[in-house]
């Protein structure tokens, strides 16, 4: 649940990830999530994730082996085995994949990541802001096909990975950003697994109708409920493999107020009456007004009644280079970042 919310409309449905983890735990025993301080500085940390098209992943459920073989190939290239795995993004299905793989490998998962939300491209991590490289990296499928490659920049890493995935069936394992425990400690977003669990727990309380649950959720995430409205228009299109779209909501109490949400796989920006009120990299989450279920981009439908939640991105994002990498202009919107939580940082 937390993973769906932090997916901000994209990131792939965590449902399959949940089933992968369930089976891994049944077969191999419980999962261990550790704090970065519990690991030796010089230890190697590796990531693993699903990369591909969510529509294809619905049919091509992971084997589990592709994640291990991708990690194995990269470990062989580096000449060193990982002491723990780490999610690249805590948000969407990739929150859970490393847990299943780590359980199978008998190693822990680090309570940290590089986004604490979902983003569509590999270079969009806090690691890039620290000049950590996504490469060397590996892409693997379930049949034993895999490649390990170097890339000069994280942007090139992204395009090489995308090209490999098209050849390998659009549902693959990626392992990138190999780094030391010390790197994670210095550059990663700490406690993101815990954060995700806590957000999910509070959201479940909201769904059960527990008294004060909404306030609890808003307080924990420092989020604001910016709008409650009904979907009166959806425009979807696909360009260069990314689903772009616009959703317009009409306010439930005041039909003269409208909110426009711009989507590129994830919900990116909300405009009320032409003025940006929530901007990427802060999180823009759409929840069913009645059930408080997070609504994914694919699940949006005309007439839905939604609550729009704005949550500040992880504080680790706020450093030089953030806006160039993941601000509104990085996604092609000629507007400034709206820093609603400046005073609280």
């Amino acid at each position: 649940m937390g993973a769906t919310l932090l997916g901000t409309g994209g990131g792939g449905d965590p449902y399959v990830g949940k089933l992968l983890v369930k089976q891994a735990i049944e077969d191999y025993g419980p999962a261990r999530v550790v704090d970065v301080d519990e690991l030796p500085d010089e230890g190697l940390i590796m990531t693993t994730a699903i990369i591909g098209a969510p529509t294809v992943i619905l049919e091509k459920i992971p084997a589990g082996t592709e994640f291990r073989s991708g990690i194995g190939a990269l470990a062989a290239y580096l000449g060193s085995d990982p002491v723990a795995l780490m999610p690249i993004e805590v948000g969407g299905v990739n929150t859970l994949v490393p847990i299943a793989t780590a359980v199978e490998m008998g190693i822990p998962v680090v309570d940290a990541d590089g986004m604490r939300r979902a983003f569509p491209q590999i270079e969009m991590t806090v690691f890039t802001l620290h000049s950590l490289k996504a490469a060397p990296m590996s892409i693997a499928d379930e049949k034993g096909n895999m490649c390990v490659f170097e890339a000069n920049t994280n942007q090139i890493a992204e395009s090489l990975a995308r090209a490999a995935v098209v050849q390998l069936g659009l549902a693959n394992a990626i392992s990138c950003y190999p780094m030391t425990v010390a790197d994670v400690r210095q550059c990663g977003i700490h406690g993101s697994m815990t954060y995700c669990t806590e957000v999910g727990r509070r959201l479940s309380q909201v769904q059960r109708g527990a008294p004060g649950a909404w306030d609890e959720l808003l307080a924990y995430t420092e989020a604001a409920l910016v709008f409650s409205g009904k979907v009166i228009d959806i425009d979807r299109r696909t360009t260069e493999g990314f689903a772009r779209g616009t959703v317009v909501l009409e306010h439930l109490d005041d039909p003269s107020r409208t909110l426009r949400v711009e989507i590129q796989n994830e919900n990116l920006i909300a405009f009320e009456d032409g003025e940006a009120v929530v901007t990427v990299p802060d999180l823009l989450c759409l929840l069913d007004h009645e059930s408080a279920d997070p609504i994914t981009t694919e699940g949006l439908a005309f007439g839905q009644r939604l609550d729009v939640l704005a949550m500040p991105c992880a504080p680790e994002w706020h450093r030089d280079g953030m806006l160039e990498l993941v601000g509104p202009r990085a996604f092609g919107y000629d507007i400034d970042y709206v820093d609603s939580w400046k005073d609280r940082r």
């Binding site: 994209g10 449902y15 399959v16 089933l19 992968l20 369930k22 089976q23 891994a24 990369i51 591909g52 098209a53 969510p54 529509t55 294809v56 619905l58 049919e59 091509k60 459920i61 992971p62 084997a63 589990g64 082996t65 299943a100 569509p120 379930e142 049949k143 995308r162 995935v165 098209v166 069936g169 659009l170 549902a171 009904k230 979907v231 009166i232 979807r236 299109r237 696909t238 260069e240 493999g241 990314f242 689903a243 009409e250 039909p255 796989n265 009645e290 279920d293 981009t297 694919e298 699940g299 949006l300 439908a301 005309f302 007439g303 009644r305």
Partner: protein, 522 residues
């Protein structure tokens, strides 16, 4: 001329039957109590309605909407044990079949399971060649231990070869008596959900056979020579021969029938529909004559499927809903429901001589209902309580309608079902409230007027050929399927086209879902 049709709907409380003539005119209607063996109730309703028909020999078609299969799953009764074969290895090994099933249902239904090599990629190339030896071994394992086998396969909605070949091999191993359900015949994209639906389907085959045989026998015993059909989740028909093989496709047909029936009875294609029963109320919305379908994954008896079911909001409000007064929370306010006396409303409510204050009593005192109960018995009922209960009903119904509407434009509301009298005449945001003629049997009427359909759900590449060409090919395929299902070719229409672009990758891939519908050929 065999120009009459009979529609039968088996609900939780009542089994309804209507006979419909040319142009959708209602010739006769009847209600009977739903019985423990539902075939008894069907017989009673059919006999009662046919007694009102002058020329029974004019009856040409019979349509049944029933909750038998849905109830079998929900109650975990009469389900067969199923062998589960998935053709997708080496992909999908990370999630075994029935992984997310409720334990009690799994114990009853799931027999031997295997994930064998086979299946397809999104572009139709094989993931691996079909492992025929493994399929044969699995067949041998199933031959003595299960009643049916469910076969699913990665991307089988687009490429059926491996499922069809596996069915041949299983028939060779297990003999012709073993029934095999293939996933491409019951579900759309989404391997795990389609596999679940296929397993449920296989486990329902005995139940289905009993219903279908019972329905056919009922017709034969009544001296009627008719073509028989069952209604499916989307409000369209399948033949009894198909229903025998694909019973899981009927599990959500009840609400669809009542909404389609309301639509035709009132002659409106775009409207809200409220179906008030004895215990609960469903509100849905009709767009172009069909219920808007839900986007969320639909669970059947706790199992996730990818059926497209009507988008409904339900709540505990019905003719039998109980009103709790004063002492409940001590401050003199009332609480309505959510409990209901259900079908006992005919004995337990005050206006029928009982001692439980129900919404039927309230409706009678408030002047909304007549023709049921004795007004003099309700003289002792407190007027303030009635007013407060009516306020609650009106408030809840207004919220349900508001939640279902897609825009602020007022829409008409059609009220159907046995408890439709509870619906007020004025509702904010609703242009007018209509009680169509014969509204209490709208669901049986919906079954009687149902049409035949065909659909397609495939991934196309818009870069390989144009979007227009892909959509045209999908529409043609859907129309062919509809004609095979019995639709009249000249009257076919495309009722829905949905495109879901494949995200995160280049290539112009797009999942296209098309449905074609038409009236049954005479």
């Amino acid at each position: 001329m065999k120009n009459l049709r009979i529609g039968v709907d088996v609900g939780g409380t009542n089994t309804d039957a209507v006979v419909v003539g040319p142009g959708g005119a209602v010739i006769a209607e009847a209600k009977a109590a739903t019985t423990p063996d539902p075939i008894d109730g069907i017989k009673a309703a059919v006999d009662a309605v046919m007694a009102q028909v002058d020329k029974p020999q004019s009856l040409g078609k019979a349509m049944l909407g029933t909750t038998h299969p849905a109830n079998a799953i929900i109650r975990r009764q009469d389900l067969d044990r199923v062998g589960v074969l998935r053709l997708a290895a080496p992909s999908s090994l990370g999630v075994r079949p029935s992984a997310a099933w409720p334990e009690d249902l799994r114990q009853i239904v799931i027999g031997p399971s295997m994930i064998a090599e086979g299946g397809f990629e999104y572009d139709g190339s094989p993931i691996a060649p079909l492992d025929e030896d493994a399929v044969r071994r699995f067949g041998a394992q199933c031959a003595e231990s299960v009643a049916a086998i469910a076969v699913s396969c990665a991307f089988s909605p687009a490429a059926t070869d491996h499922e069809l070949r596996a069915a041949e091999l299983l028939a060779e191993e297990c003999g012709p008596d073993m029934t095999v359900s293939l996933s491409h015949t019951v579900g759309s994209l989404g391997l795990l959900e389609r596999e679940n639906a296929t397993i449920l389907n296989a486990s329902l085959l005995t139940v289905a056979k009993r219903v279908v045989d019972g329905f056919r026998n009922t017709m034969a015993e009544a001296g009627l020579e008719v073509d028989s059909y069952l209604t499916q989740n989307d409000g369209t028909l399948m033949t009894v021969e198909e229903a025998d093989r694909y019973p899981v496709l009927t599990v959500g047909s009840g609400p669809t029938n009542s909404m389609r029936g309301a639509c035709a009875l009132a002659g409106l294609a775009d409207a809200l529909v409220i179906d008030v029963g004895g215990t609960s109320t469903d509100v849905g919305i009709l767009v172009d004559g069909f219920p808007r379908v839900s986007t969320a994954a639909v669970e059947v008896g706790g199992v996730r499927t990818n059926f497209r079911m009507p988008d409904l909001i339900s709540m505990g409000l019905g003719g039998g809903t109980v009103i709790h007064t004063g002492e409940v929370d001590g401050n003199g306010e009332i609480r309505v429901g959510p409990d209901s006396v259900g079908y006992n409303v005919i004995t337990q409510s005050i206006c029928m001589g009982g001692d439980t204050l129900t919404l039927s009593d309230v409706s009678l005192v408030a002047g909304r209902m007549d023709g049921f109960g004795d007004r003099s018995l309700t003289e002792g009922v407190d007027q303030d309580t009635v007013a407060a209960a009516i306020d609650w009903v009106d408030g809840r119904i207004a919220v349900l309608c508001e939640r279902m509407k897609a825009s602020s434009t007022p829409l008409p509301l059609m009220a159907v079902g046995g408890g439709a009298h509870l619906v007020p005449e004025q509702i904010a945001g609703v242009s007018e409230v209509l009680w169509p003629p014969h509204h209490s049997v709208a669901n049986a009427f919906g079954a009687a007027i149902a049409e035949a359909a065909g659909s397609v759900d495939k991934v196309y590449s818009y870069d390989a050929s144009s979007r227009e060409a892909c959509l045209e090919s999908a529409c043609e395929e859907a129309k062919d399927a509809a004609v095979r299902a019995g639709a009249e070719e000249a009257s076919l229409r495309i009722t829905s086209v949905a495109e879901i672009p494949m995200t995160y990758v280049p290539g112009g891939g797009c999942r296209v879902m098309v449905k074609a519908v038409g009236p049954l050929a005479e």
